[in-house]
């Protein structure tokens, strides 16, 4: 037991390209990508809702693919390109999904929203969802306790250019 108490592992240097900017971090290996973003880079737009990959609030894009950042150790992503909610708007102009979420009131408290929007961005890039049933299915990794689901579907359809 006495040994366990002093076993804080060594820090490991990593590089992340976060929203286009190169960031260098020294992290203990147990640091999740989520905590690296929130606690070490002050990017609190990415949310922690469960820390167990159950709710999707922490969804970010890693090299263009949507992932649960709470289930991803930061050291595993050395050199990767990370896009968070803070990186979606360009020069003050909202991403079409961000605007669609406002237009359709696709959130209430706003806490799951960054994860929903990052997940929807990944979904659109995947090109798999053709209709509302498929969007529902493929967005079900992102829980919304306020119950904005029908509005989330409507917002994603607007961004897809479908009625």
């Amino acid at each position: 037991m006495a040994d366990a108490a002093n076993q804080i592992p060594d820090r490991i240097p990593i590089n992340l390209i976060v929203n286009g900017n190169r960031r260098t971090l020294d992290l203990v290996p147990w640091t999740t990508l989520l905590d690296a973003l929130r606690e070490h880079l002050a990017l609190t737009g990415t949310k922690k809702g469960c820390d167990h990959g159950q709710c999707g609030a922490c969804t970010v894009l890693v090299d263009g693919r949507r992932v649960n950042s709470c289930l991803t150790l930061a050291v595993m992503k050395d050199g990767a390109e990370i896009t968070t909610i803070e990186g979606l708007a360009r020069d003050g102009a909202l991403h079409p999904l961000q605007q669609a979420f406002i237009d359709h009131d696709a959130f209430q408290c706003g806490y799951c929203t960054p994860g929903q929007i990052c997940s929807a961005t990944g979904l659109l890039a995947e090109g798999r969802a053709k209709d509302s049933d498929e969007i529902r299915e493929l967005m079900s990794g992102n829980l919304c306790r306020c119950g904005a689901y029908p509005n989330i579907i409507a917002a994603i359809q607007q961004a897809m250019g479908r009625p």
């Binding site: 037991m1 108490a5 737009g45 949310k47 809702g49 159950q54 909202l94 209430q108 706003g110 689901y149």
Partner: protein, 735 residues
Amino acid sequence: MNAYVGTSTSRVDGRAKVTGAAKYAGEFAADRLLHGFVVEATIPRGRIARLDTSQALKVKGVLDVLTHAHRPPLAGKDEAWKDEVAPEEGSPFRPLYDDGVKFNGQPIALVVAEDWETAKFAATLVRVGYQEEQAFATDLEAERGKAAEVKQPHKPRGDAAGALAASAVRHEADYFIPTEHHNPMELYATTVVWDGNGRLTVYDKTQGVQNVHRYLCNVFGKKPDDIRVLSPYVGGAFGSGLRPQYQVVLATLGALALKRSVRVVLTRQQMYGLGHRPATIEHLGLGAKPDGTLDAVTHEATAITSCYEDFARNDTGWAEQLYKSPNSRYSHKLVRLDVSTPSDMRAPGAASGVCALECAMDELAVALKLDPIELRLKCYSDSDQSEDLPYTSKQLRACYARGAEAFGWNRRNPTPRAMRDGKELVGWSMATGVWEALQMPVAVRIVLSANGHAEVSCAASDIGTGTYTIVAQVAADALGLPIENIDVRLADSTLPQAPVEGGSWMAASSAHAVLEAAEDIRRELALLASTMPSSPLAGVDAADVVLVDGTIAKDGEKSRAVSITDAMRHGKLERLEKQKLNHFAEDKSHARNTHSAVFAEVRVDEQLGVIRVTRIVSAVAAGRILNTKTGRSQIMGGVVWGIGMALHEETAMDHRFGRIMNANIAEYHIPANADIHDIDVIFVDERDHHINRLGVKGLGEIGIVGVPAAIANAVYHATGKRIRRFPITLDKLLA
């Protein structure tokens, strides 16, 4: 005059929320911020015999481990711990106060470290020995015989027991509602910023900053100026943030002990150690004549509470408002168990009680061979029978009619199992919803600048309900300014008074406070404008002056106007500040309620028992709707909660250990996107000139009420099986 009120204005905080700029309690930065991690009790009842923190303290980066034996002082009297929402009876829980363990998951230590990961690791090294008490109980059904009656507001009318026994058609049954947890998406969190000299700025996940402020001052013996509490954004709450949560005490203890800023964020699992909707057995008795008129209603609720506080809400009594009956009796009983105290959770009391009442009404309709809407219309009550009061407004008949039309009710085959689509049985049914239309004193301050911008501020919270937006809408209309010129500040304990955000009272309460403050601004501007040289408003009575399009104008004669900017410059005013506390006149001449008719379509896979809720129509009568976009969202959210209550949600306890088995958001099921299909929200026109100036009633709770019953009734209609034990899962259908 109403450019914004009643429209579908988008949320004014929308941009902050979709860009990640909105900051929640656990996200505020502070110099040399420390992180706390909670150690929980693993027994339901007993004493801490040994608490060894030595190994945790050896971890590099750990500064301290706070326990009941090692912490700054805490108040010793119950009064200090009673927040404004605390139950009247009992002794509130005091975190890290003594060696007693009152429930499994109770916080018993706080590890404070330089970073979160270190605190979390060190927490695993805290060793705890207990003196366990074997005689503990967590099972409502096993302990039902120990239930004790608590006082209820509704007096019995007539001889309900006798009338029920003598009724031609009778339905009696128990309905079981399990314990449920709020599970807002944001983890319960507090960041306490150490401002020096013992002064603290507290960012807390709460529905009432002033409630938390008073509580912290009392618990820590602080002066009001020493503590400031803020919650600018709240990531969902649903009642969980009405009472101060224990992490706000722990974070404050940490800050005071170490004289540094401290953040405490609970894990999802730890959140199950706070409030919950209490498990309840609802016993309904309905007696009727063959024509469908009621002879008797009895409703007895038996709910759980903790061993240290008596938490009780109005599960029963709603039939007094809905259904005419000459005889009625209601009672509410509590069973004290070794669990944490229940708390308000969306439509507390009504969500459970009306669920049972509306399932029972459906069963009665079947027994009477009556259409369920027809039965409800037969005993429709135009008065609140308990006090014999008329309603300020009650468009429930219109809710039934509009909802039925939108749903296609006339195409329903009343026979169970008669509707089918391929391998799925289809069920159509309905239920009624009811909630109170409450209103509370709220104060608002408006600061109007000469450039035509206004800051509107109030201590009220916006927990996702849209308070920022409706306050901006009402202020923009009252001041005659574009909504972009209105800056709303909320949820800071130093701002004008507001109660906790709950009970669906904040929309009406905050809107009328805005009107009152704006009225004072209008009067002063009218006076200023009329005294300007060659004023077009000279001689015009102040009562005939309105604020419109950035001007002060004669009502109905827009050409006679002065710009706000010119009038304020004339008065040498850069800013005009008015603060007003609005009290609603006490009026006990009418009952005040919101109503709904909920229609549900379910599809049940006959072989697998899988249930899908494919359509919900919710027709709501709730007075004037301030914002049809955010209002629709609130009702839709309530419907999603109702679907969860009907089919998914249940906190499962292992009664052998008194410990929750599914304390996470994967095994405690809440609806996911794939569970939700068409939801049609209809706002029935309801002009209420009696309730308040704007005719506003509030929408936060009414959306959930009735939904679980409508779904349960539709499951019966689809399958012919009546499931009275919620949630309705496929194992119960296949049994």
